[in-house]
């Protein structure tokens, strides 16, 4: 049953060096506050799993938290490249980064298999592409009824998954509405799960396209207002496109990146302080 706790304790207790960690959120509800807390606590050798590594994984990779990345699309959406990600792959900086690369459909089905306690998932894909040449976790499987050959991908079962949601209720049930992406499967496939939420409400009320993840899914629920910035939380705040663009020149330069991270992330105690710090620099859209 989920314990409402603070994020620092949740990360300290549930995320360990060397863990396979999934922070999910498909453009919407990206768990930035949790990523920063992992950076602050100096986690190392993580296998980072995420369909769309974006600013948070760029930052974690640039800060040397990761030894491996499992992903399907790595860019700064609407802006361009993730420069820390590219620098790690192209130049091994700050440490070498192993990659395991899939398509979105492959990643999504790997989470589904993991959430279902199955060792693999089946899909129509990959055949004729170069992905099987560079990614070992793709293999053919034959239908025992029709003889047809399809592709299999192994389950993802992260040691810990972290998602950001709009609300938890007083019992710890977690609600996401709007685009919920792969968060359900990310949380359910993991050995341990953490949710950060915008707020705790007494009772959940229906919202369009809402899903509710029961309290028993989570080991910890922490309140982190604005915790998905610069992505958005439907009903709370919009995507901060200005920040995504402002990130480009910072991420592009190793020194600019280090000093930005030291000032705003390592130099702050929590996400609230961080947010005031970057807002003070005009990086946040009004």
């Amino acid at each position: 049953m989920a314990e409402v706790t603070d994020l620092r304790e949740a990360v300290a207790g549930l995320v360990h060096d060397g863990d396979a960690v999934a922070l999910e959120g498909f453009t919407h509800l990206i768990p930035t506050a949790a990523a920063h807390e992992i950076i602050r606590q100096g986690r190392k050798d993580l296998t980072l799993i995420r369909m769309t590594p974006d600013l948070i994984y760029d930052q974690m990779i640039g800060m040397g938290c990761a030894r491996k990345l499992v992903f399907s699309w790595g860019g700064n959406p609407g802006v361009g490249s993730l420069h820390r990600f590219r620098d790690a792959i192209e130049n091994d900086w700050p440490v070498p980064l192993e990659i395991e690369e899939h398509s979105h459909a492959g990643m999504a089905n790997r989470y589904v298999a993991g959430a279902s306690n199955l060792p693999f998932a089946v899909l129509r894909g990959y055949v004729g592409t170069d992905l099987p040449k560079v990614t070992s976790t793709i293999a053919p499987v034959t239908c025992p009824f029709t003889g047809e050959e399809l592709m299999a991908v192994p389950a993802l079962n992260p040691d810990v998954s972290i998602i950001h949601a709009q609300q938890a209720d007083s019992r710890g049930n977690v609600a996401i509405w709007g685009i919920s992406g792969i968060q359900k499967e990310a949380a359910l496939s993991a050995r341990r799960a953490i949710a950060t939420v915008e707020e705790v409400v007494e009772e959940l009320t229906p919202h369009p396209f809402q899903i509710v993840l029961p309290a028993v899914v989570f080991d910890a629920v922490a309140v982190e207002p604005k915790g998905a910035h610069p992505s958005y939380a439907d009903g709370y705040y919009d995507r901060d496109n200005v920040f995504y663009e402002a990130w480009d020149p910072i991420g592009r330069d190793r020194e600019a990146f280090r000093s930005w991270m030291e000032q705003h992330v390592l130099g702050t105690e929590n996400f609230g302080e961080y947010f005031r710090s970057v807002r003070g620099e005009g990086m946040v859209a009004k």
């Binding site: 609407g78 398509s103 979105h104 050959e149």
Partner: protein
Amino acid sequence: MTANRGMGEAAAPYTADEMMTVAASRELRDGAVCFVGIGLPSEAANLARATHAPGCVLIYESGTVGAKPDVLPLSIGDGVLAAHADSVVSVPEIFNYWLQAGRVDVGFLGAAQVDRFGNINTTVVGDYQHPKVRLPGAGGAPEIAASAREVIIMLRHKRRAFVERLSFVTSVGHGAGGGSRDDLGYPGAGPTVLITDLGVLRPDPETRELTLVALHPGATVEGAREATGWNLKVADDPGTTEPPTERELELLRDLKARTEAARGGSTRGTET
């Protein structure tokens, strides 16, 4: 904004990018279920929705079905996509129950590189282990290319994008040409058209090689050949694309203006 490359000296009242978007939008028939990538494809699909195809059902890989964005999304999961959607489903559902299930009529893709058979690279330029340029990767493209009933590709015509040999095959078009795509067992028909800022390419019915079948006004066969990294096949008598109508241009510019305003004046590119 792309310059009016190849469009002759008489300044057209529209850009080459606008022509490309308008030409692509016309490929989408009303009522079609269309799986849309961010950037140029999204622009073209939403222009189609604003003009001749109000009933087309736009699907974005974030899980929005029947999205009706009033401004162009900057990311694949922008809130504007969910706001007036018919439904919002999970990412596994959008790929398994919609795309793989054959419910998508048209897949609308961008690319970093394309080859003569419409195969697409969005992964790396150079060696995979030591890339010259690391691109974002596959995303949803391989399965869109595999399972959409047909695929429309949009890509600005440049020699480094239209290559003899892809560094990496991320998404399969017509494979090695001929019947080679069928041999892979994919349900969809593959790319039926490639729209560039110079013209329109369609696969040869037999060889499946992309063939220049129309030029946008002002563009030339020579310009297209120069901008292509292989020996471009040209139809015997390539047609000329109908220039954008006033209404198309007005609606496209309106859409882009609303988008810029909503983004707080950002003018950064929308392509990923």
